[in-house]
Subunit: 167 residues, 2 copies
């Protein structure tokens, strides 16, 4: 193990700006959703993904992958959403281990009610502050990072993410 490669001045500025922006932004979005629609952002995402899926339903694992959530987190979240009547769990016909989450009409209505305020907040705090070029840059940066983190070598290391071999 070599010496630590610390961040350069510009790298440090970039990392901190990104970190602070994201902290502030996510906090603001969470508060807006919680206050206006009584749901955390994670629940909103679950509803969105289900609403876009065929039959407004998905296997639990698919849903977990789509929302970048752990299985456990999704289980807890879906349990609470089911209590609210926003979705239902049904058994999977082809795999008796499987469960399928199905969005209910009430759940869809909750999403429809929440969406305008949430989108407005995303625009106001992020999108509308950026130039079109910056929107594109953000997409590219995000894609690169996602690709890295979901690559095979990274998924494997998820549970043992130490000072890893530089591939």
């Amino acid at each position: 193990m070599g010496k630590t490669r610390w961040l350069s001045a510009s790298e440090q500025r970039a990392w901190r700006a990104y970190l602070e922006a994201t902290t502030l932004l996510f906090d603001a979005l969470d508060r807006q959703l919680q206050r206006d629609s009584a749901m955390p952002h994670a629940y909103y995402e679950i509803l969105v993904r289900l609403s876009e899926a065929d039959g407004r339903s998905m296997r639990m694992s698919e849903l977990a992958d789509a929302t970048r959530s752990s299985r456990s987190r999704l289980s807890h979240a879906v349990a609470r959403l089911e209590e609210r009547g926003w979705l239902e769990r049904v058994e999977c016909p082809t795999d008796k281990r499987g469960q399928i989450a199905v969005l209910t009409g009430v759940g869809f209505a909750a999403l429809e009610a929440a969406a305008p305020g949430h989108v407005a907040a995303v625009r106001r705090h992020l999108i509308d502050r950026l130039t079109p070029e910056q929107v594109t840059q953000l997409e590219q940066i995000g894609s690169v990072v996602v690709a890295g983190l979901e690559s095979p070598e990274c998924r494997a290391v998820r549970a043992a993410d130490t000072v890893a071999p530089v591939a």
Copy 2:
């Protein structure tokens, strides 16, 4: 209230890429720190800011602002860090309401032990995947967003962040 301005296709892609990247990245960084150094990222940030401050100490409110944290969150966090012996709270001489958090030697050592692994993870998952231009772009995007969220009109709205007046 007018109709909702939904996100365009490219805006949607950018927002989702950023959201997914950040979710994955923050989860990865949190896990790394938790596993290797037994602290959440929020605690790491507190230690960093204190270590950089004069006398390795700061007023609670300063520290809350620096870490983009709520007062309450910081209070809870500092209480726990104090239990571990990583910092201490002393009364402020000039303002009897105030408290000053002081990093201890043990706390500094914990930070020194945690830093290399954390920086390596930030590099591996983010910085080293970007071109120098992208690092610059990320800094600029982050700065714009931070500026917007800490502007007076936004700080005021923090507690009532509805579909706000467009200034």
